[in-house]
């Protein structure tokens, strides 16, 4: 399992990556807010935002196929819910508005997450005086997410190589067992982590 799938390209070098975290976060959030707030009739505005985003994507040297894949991955959900909006009075315009805004915001967040390493984001939150407990939990979550994913993969492979029955019931039982085992191992691991942190002076 690649241990960087969340922010895979966040540590490459580019003019965008070099900018301080707070600028990227503030710009991203204000972009999302304005895109949501401005009515769809201002088509020029949305065109400009779209071009700006594409420009940033180009400058950030993130592989375009990667960006495209991420957008395509999430677009169906947007489409499915948006299609429900067609069944009302101004349906067409609302549909257009939803899809445009969603895609632009989606693009913004994808760019943000792939130009800012997670640890820098946590640092930023710490400076904003986010509750210390939450930052610790987030950091631990990020740190052990990949460990748990590896464990899940191992358990899954072990199950697959030992089971002959492929019917649905067995899939459900085996996956539930994996989740249960994951939790049990998580509790044990948490105990060890606590001891390790205490041994290194954490309070």
């Amino acid at each position: 399992m690649r241990h960087d799938f969340i922010d895979r390209y966040s540590r490459i070098d580019s003019p965008i990556h070099r900018r301080p975290t707070w600028i990227k976060v503030v710009l991203a959030i204000s972009n999302v807010i304005t895109v949501v707030a401005v009515p769809i009739s201002y088509t020029l505005f949305f065109g400009i935002i779209g071009s700006l985003l594409l420009l940033i994507a180009q400058m950030s040297k993130i592989p375009k196929i990667f960006l495209l894949k991420r957008i395509i991955l999430l677009e169906p959900f947007i489409m499915m819910i948006a299609m429900l909006s067609l069944f009302q009075v101004n349906g067409g315009i609302i549909f257009l508005s939803i899809v445009t805004k969603s895609t632009l915001c989606l693009f913004t967040m994808i760019l943000l997450s792939n130009t800012t390493p997670f640890s820098e984001l946590l640092d930023f939150l710490k400076r904003l005086r986010f509750p210390h407990l939450l930052i610790t939990i987030l950091a631990l979550m990020y740190r052990y997410l990949f460990v748990l994913i590896d464990e899940k993969e191992r358990m899954h492979r072990a199950r697959e190589s030992r089971s002959f029955k492929k019917n649905k019931a067995h899939v459900w039982i085996s996956k539930s067992a994996i989740i249960a085992q994951l939790f049990v191992r998580s509790t044990e691991r948490a105990e060890r982590i606590y001891s390790a942190m205490c041994a290194r002076g954490w309070k």
């Binding site: 999302v32 949501v36 999430l74 948006a82 969603s102 939990i137 996956k175 989740i179 691991r189 606590y194």
Partner: protein
């Protein structure tokens, strides 16, 4: 059902974010008062665990697959306030790093899944478990509560979409609720299976006993309840109450039409069934919902019977 950006308008965003912020800070305060340093790594691991658990796909009908939300699972394992925090953090990371769920829609998603899902679900679990305090009753409670948490979250989601004017309530409510009643079955079964497996392998981890809920916790629930009720008032009730309005409209229109008709004969059978027709898909869904809930309850009790019988056999 993470709502992306662009589906909600400003007033809905402000309302949901405020409610979520309130609910979240209550949960945070409760947790801070109760948590000891030893439990902090567990919270981090629990968040990672929920994340990974949500990645597992379970085959449903045909080629589709569904996945767990896990709000009731964590609520049963770690307590309701912990559940609110953990699910919120998972949603936060999913929003920032997978763009799964919009940034401004975070308030709505947190409210639907972390707050309503965890707390409402947990309350249902406690209620049923208190009534049937056996092992079988516990599994029944967990299964049904998980189903309820999914369905309730979808109802609020439909309400928020309708409130924002993006999707008509009459479209959103049936669509969202029907799909999530099916998905909820998956959630119910998986959550129950997971708890049952933990019960069989490491029973000491499930130390929460419904009977020992102290009086002080009822006060917490009261505050949570207020938050959820405000959400109900804002996002669900305005649309439910349209049913009688529809009927009143029909009466008014009939009366008006009658006056304009030249013939004195009352054309009562020839009522334009268009208007009751709009009301009835929603009504039909409500009725289906009640029936569905009863069916799920029965299914959950059958399921839990088998689980409980199995673990009794294993114990001997």
């Amino acid at each position: 059902m993470h709502i992306p950006d662009g589906f909600l308008d400003t007033k809905t965003i402000v309302a949901t974010t405020t409610l979520s912020a309130v609910g979240f800070s209550i949960a945070l305060r409760n947790l801070k008062n109760r948590i000891i340093p030893r439990q902090v790594p567990m919270m981090g691991l629990a968040a990672a665990f929920v994340f990974v658990a949500q990645m597992l796909n379970f085959p449903i009908i045909g080629g589709t697959s569904g996945h767990l939300i896990g709000s009731v699972l964590i609520a049963v394992l770690l307590g309701p306030s912990a559940a609110v925090i953990v699910i919120t953090l998972v949603l936060l990371v999913q929003c920032f790093f997978f763009a799964d769920g919009g940034l401004l829609a975070l308030g709505a998603n947190v409210f639907n899944m972390a707050i309503v899902g965890s707390l409402f679900g947990y309350s249902i679990y406690l209620a049923i478990y208190k009534i049937i305090p056996t092992e079988k009753g516990r599994y029944l409670a967990i299964g049904f509560a998980s189903w309820c948490s999914t369905v309730l979250a979808s109802i609020f989601c439909a309400g928020e979409l309708a409130c924002a004017g993006s999707v008509n309530w009459k479209m959103a409510f049936p669509a969202m609720t029907n799909i999530h009643m099916l998905i909820g079955i998956g959630e119910g079964m998986i959550t129950t299976l997971v708890i049952a497996t933990i019960q069989r392998t490491r029973a000491e981890l499930l130390s929460l006993d419904a009977h020992k809920i102290k009086a002080s916790r009822y006060k917490e629930f009261l505050v949570y309840g207020v938050v959820i009720v405000i959400g109900l008032i804002l996002f669900v009730l305005p649309f439910i109450s349209k049913l009688p309005d529809g009927l009143e409209k029909v009466a008014a229109m009939l009366g008006f039409e009658y006056k304009t008709l030249v013939e004195p004969i009352v054309p009562s059978p020839i009522i334009d069934y268009q208007f009751p027709g709009i009301g009835s898909p929603v009504l039909a869904t409500w009725i289906a919902g009640v029936v569905g809930a009863v069916v799920v309850f029965v299914l959950a009790s059958i399921f839990s019977h088998f689980l409980a019988v199995k673990s009794e056999k294993q114990a001997h």
